[in-house]
């Protein structure tokens, strides 16, 4: 992991290269995170790729309900030579959950982006084949959002056993 100083230097370098690209930084428990502008995520990741962080180890979504903007997309970057990691976080609002796709920079992002779309409803603009990957294609809603009903069957205990639909009548 880069230390706090190196994180600030990287952030400043990115700000110099692309104006407004880094909104904030966070260094928490030795974990360096760049909070990036979602519209410039391709430029940020491309710059980090040129710096040596050329492996996208993971791409995942988070729902920060009730914080705003609610949804987050996290990119875990890995430098294979220095064995160095840095996280990039982009927050998108639930009303306009659009973020550019990075599949052309990192082909491995194909399935993770589809999964984030499936579970959180983040639309990755420019993705070659943005379909649901885990849920059925006619499924409605994004099940990992915090305001999605948990669903499932009611668990029957003694106090509500009359609700059992399987009982013989």
């Amino acid at each position: 992991m880069p230390d706090a100083t190196e994180l600030e230097l990287t952030a400043q370098e990115l700000r110099d290269a692309h104006n407004e690209s880094i909104l904030d930084t966070s260094f928490h428990r030795d974990r360096a995170t760049l909070i990036a502008n979602p519209q410039l995520i391709r430029e940020v990741l491309g710059h980090l790729q040129g710096k040596g962080y050329n492996m996208l180890a993971s791409l995942h979504g988070v729902d920060y309900y009730p914080e705003e903007p609610r949804l987050g997309v996290l990119y875990e970057m890995l430098d294979m030579k220095r064995v160095d990691r840095i996280s990039v976080k982009a927050r998108v609002s639930i009303d306009d959950p659009h973020i550019p796709s990075v599949v052309d920079l990192f082909p491995t992002a194909d399935f993770p982006e589809r999964e984030v779309y499936d579970m959180f409803g983040v639309v990755f603009d420019g993705h070659p084949d943005l379909r649901r990957i885990l849920m059925p294609e006619d499924y409605e809603g994004y099940p990992q959002r915090r305001d999605f009903p948990v669903g499932g069957e009611p668990v029957l205990f003694t106090f509500n056993e009359e609700q059992s639909y399987g009982k013989y009548v």
């Binding site: 849920m135 006619d138 499924y139 009903p149 948990v150 669903g151 499932g152 069957e153």
Partner: protein
Amino acid sequence: MEVKREKIPEDFRIRQLQARDMLRGDLDGEDLERYVQERVLTTTVDKAVGWAQGNSIYPLTFGLACCAMEQIHIVAARMDIARFGFEAFRASPRQADLIILSGRVSIKMAPVIRRIWDQMLEPKWAISMGACCSSMGVFNNYALVPSDKFLPIDVHVPGCPPRPEALMHGILRLRDLIQGHAREGWRARYDAVGTEELLPGEADLDSAGINVFKPGDTAGA
């Protein structure tokens, strides 16, 4: 060590002599009548078929999750389901007459299982194995569907996962059920005659009596 020799019972010796006489054609009249009555067992065809079918279930080679590990064990040496005649796991649904749903069924898997079930020939049976498949167990959320909602389950085996003995017990209970209702299809068993799937053109799909989901219509799904 002294070897004990049992004396052959007297009536057994008489039967042997009678059988010899019968083969020679020396037995006739009342003796022949009695000989036949002693040796013929009468039953109904249904009972005979039930006995045979219940003792030769062909399960489908089909595992869904961790319960499948326990399902595999009933074939292995310790449980050895071959003792009851169920050891021939069939790889094709068209040759199987029992499907064991061993694990969690996601809502994406349910139509696949239903299609496999529809490919099996009647008479056919289904066992729901484990908590996930019967009541969704620890995965009680948006992703799963309980098997009763899309298959007519004959036996539920509880457990998480059930031990092989429990599954064996479930299969033996199923054997009792088969021996009682050997030649009934599942629609007859569960009073579902008239729910057969219709091909397009066979019926007016817009009539209120037929509940068909149109493509893209997910209401009620």
